[in-house]
């Protein structure tokens, strides 16, 4: 039997890289869509290329863009994937206020371009859409579950709501095996450096190693439901192995403040964050979201999925990874890439 083929958009991101590793480990042929940039943008895939454990000859990268419909159509037709994971997006909430039109073009319209490319080619892959807890915004109930009404509070959240419904619509209109994973915040050592958890763990590591003194933060009372990205990509895969497409909340059902994140990260390296953190109102969001906390009981019942790495362990492992990364950079073991 020839191996299954998967197409991942957003393969260079945190989730895309973990998902690629998971699928390669299961014997898939993995195809990834990458945007052209004049700098290297595939650093998160380094593990696949350097770790002999991964069959790197089963990984294929293609230049493309969710803004480029014909290219998407051509790639889908050429690859003939069994599974498509749409993880690509302009995914930074704060930046979506700066560049809302671009965010909508990629995060919302990009999804329908991909679904149209699938419909046009006539192949019937299973489809995963990366929905987001940001769709709940001004929360209508606590905790949130699959039936909780959406009330997005950012251009990013609005765009994700569109992508969520258009995925449901293609499932209902065309019988596509399409699923939405409503993922609450999920972090890892590969999290983008401008996201708050990573910003904190990086800063704790830098300050510990004497490379930095101050950390400027926004609202410390913001709360989130934070899980471990490596476990969340398993839920994505499980959704596409079910007999029918469906929507699932993936979360930890716990909530913690930014303040607690500072406690754990700085505590991990033996520092008191109060001596280093300053508040800068520029980091406040124009509209803050409320208490985001996800009820993952459906995912547990139907997929047999539940989170294993909880908040303290997660922030601890991220801080350790940042300390190790910076030490390797200082020792010259990690080469500059540009």
């Amino acid at each position: 039997m020839s191996s299954k083929k998967a197409l991942i958009t957003g393969i260079t991101g945190q989730d895309g890289s973990y998902l690629a590793e998971l699928l390669l480990g299961k014997g898939y042929e993995v195809h990834g869509l990458i945007r052209r940039a004049s700098t290297f943008n595939t650093s998160r895939l380094d593990a696949i290329y350097t770790d002999p454990h991964f069959p790197k000859h089963q990984l294929f990268l293609h230049y493309g863009d969710l803004a480029d419909a014909s290219n998407l159509s051509r790639l889908v037709g050429k690859i003939q994937p069994d599974e498509v994971y749409n993880l690509a997006a302009q995914s930074h909430v704060r930046v979506s206020f700066d560049a809302p039109e671009y965010t909508a073009d990629v995060t919302a319209t990009g999804t329908v371009r991909l679904l149209e490319a699938i419909r046009e080619t006539g192949i019937r892959p299973r489809f995963y859409q990366a929905s987001s807890s940001e769709m709940f915004g001004l929360v209508q109930e606590v905790p949130q579950k699959e039936t909780t009404p959406f009330y997005p509070r950012s251009p990013y959240g609005c765009a994700k709501v569109y992508s969520h419904w258009i995925t449901v619509n293609y499932r209902e209109s065309y019988g596509l095996h399409a699923s939405n994973g409503i993922l609450f915040n999920h972090e890892s050592p590969r999290r983008g450096e401008t996201f708050v958890t990573r910003k904190i763990t990086r800063a704790a590591a830098h300050i510990k190693l004497g490379l930095q003194d101050k950390l400027f933060m926004g609202n410390l009372d913001s709360k989130r439901d934070w899980g471990y990205a490596k476990e969340y990509v398993e839920a994505m895969w499980l959704m596409l192995q079910q007999p029918e497409g469906d929507d699932y909340v993936v979360a930890t059902n716990e909530t913690h403040t930014i303040r607690e994140c500072l406690d754990v990260a700085f505590g991990q390296v033996g520092l008191d964050w109060h001596k280093h953190v300053e508040i800068d109102p520029r980091y406040y969001r124009p509209a803050e979201v409320d208490l985001l906390i996800g009820d993952y009981s459906k995912a547990k019942a139907k997929l047999g999925w539940e989170p294993k790495t909880k908040f303290k362990a997660l922030i601890g492992l991220m801080t350790d990874a940042d300390v190790k990364l910076i030490q390797e950079q200082l020792a010259g073991k990690v080469r500059r890439q540009d």
Partner: protein, 321 residues
């Protein structure tokens, strides 16, 4: 303090231009795309300096596909000069991702021109056009009057953009300049451009980090200069009393093979042992002899580029070691 806005600031030219303008006392604002990796390696030395970043160097998130954000930034920054360097700039890939290439390169330029037209005090505007607009040129070397005959989607998009710049200059009386730039290289060149690829490989092979190098047709010829000279040309073009188009080129053609031999020689290696031909890397349509006549830039701007390919390649290989 004069204020400049640069699109494409994270690229090779953007980073050298930023350094040049900062040294001249400018406040430099840059437009950056959002990415999930913080790969602004070419600006890292400036970005990490609190005396510069946030003071004389300020970055703004936007995208050439997001006109309202561009408008907001231009209104807020109110620059004296705009250097428009952003766009999907890889020729080979422009065949694969044609729609997004044309959208960023051509439509992105038009969006900026439309915004500038509406500003109360329109800035001087430099558009980084490319020798690829000449594609299959009717004359060798090319000058500012040579007709545009692009042969790839990137060249077609740049020709479209350069044409719009001329139209808006004439129709609306704006200070708009096309700099028709021939290939210009540096250690900061994108890694999938041929000179950088060769220089990286020569260094990596000499250090045992790579085994061999696969290349397409090494007889292809180009007019290659030093990127630092070209960003000086951009600035000079906007200081000229009249808005005009300028060719920036060395006027000298070399083959890819010349680069290969120079690079492996710097690395102390015999290229014949390490270079393999790969048919897949051949371009769909190779442009003809693209070599520029920069006499006008020399006469009106006093611009004289370095012409020593050996020195350029040496600089690029040594930066990788």
């Amino acid at each position: 303090m004069p204020t400049a806005l640069i699109t494409g600031i994270t690229g090779q030219d953007g980073s050298y231009l930023t350094e040049h303008l900062l040294s001249l006392g400018y406040a430099v604002h840059g437009v950056v795309r959002r990415t999930s990796t913080l790969e602004r390696s070419r600006l890292r030395h400036l970005y990490g300096d609190p005396q510069i970043y946030g003071r004389s160097l300020i970055l703004h998130y936007a995208d050439l596909e997001d006109p309202t954000s561009l408008r907001r930034i231009l209104v807020k920054v109110a620059p004296d000069e705009v250097y428009h360097l952003a766009g999907q700039s890889h020729v080979g890939l422009s065949f694969e991702i044609a729609e997004s290439t044309v959208d960023s390169v051509a439509m992105g330029t038009l969006r900026l021109l439309e915004i500038i037209r509406d500003l109360p005090k329109p800035p001087r505007f430099f558009h980084a056009a490319s020798s690829e607009i000449f594609g299959r040129p009717a004359q060798v070397p090319q000058d500012e009057a040579t007709p545009m005959v692009p042969v790839n989607p990137y060249g077609a998009a740049k020709a479209f953009a350069a044409g719009l710049v001329r139209i808006y200059r004439e129709k609306h009386g704006l200070f708009l300049v096309n700099g028709i730039l021939y290939n210009h290289e540096s250690p900061r060149r994108g890694e999938n451009f041929v000179t950088r690829k060769i220089c990286r490989a020569a260094a990596a092979i000499s250090q045992g980090r790579q085994e061999f190098l696969q290349l397409g047709d090494t007889s292809a010829q180009r007019d290659w200069g030093d990127a630092r000279d070209y960003v000086r040309g951009m600035w000079l073009a906007l200081q000229h009393p009249q808005p005009e188009d300028f060719i920036f080129a060395t006027g000298v053609l070399h083959t890819v093979q010349d680069v290969v031999e120079a690079a492996f020689s710097v690395a102390g290696l015999d290229w014949q042992k390490y270079v393999r031909r790969d048919e897949r890397l051949l371009r769909s349509q190779e442009p003809f002899a693209l070599v520029g006549n920069a006499a006008k830039a020399e006469r009106l701007l006093g611009w004289r580029p370095g012409k020593d390919l050996q020195a350029l390649v040496r600089w690029m290989v040594e930066a990788e070691l």
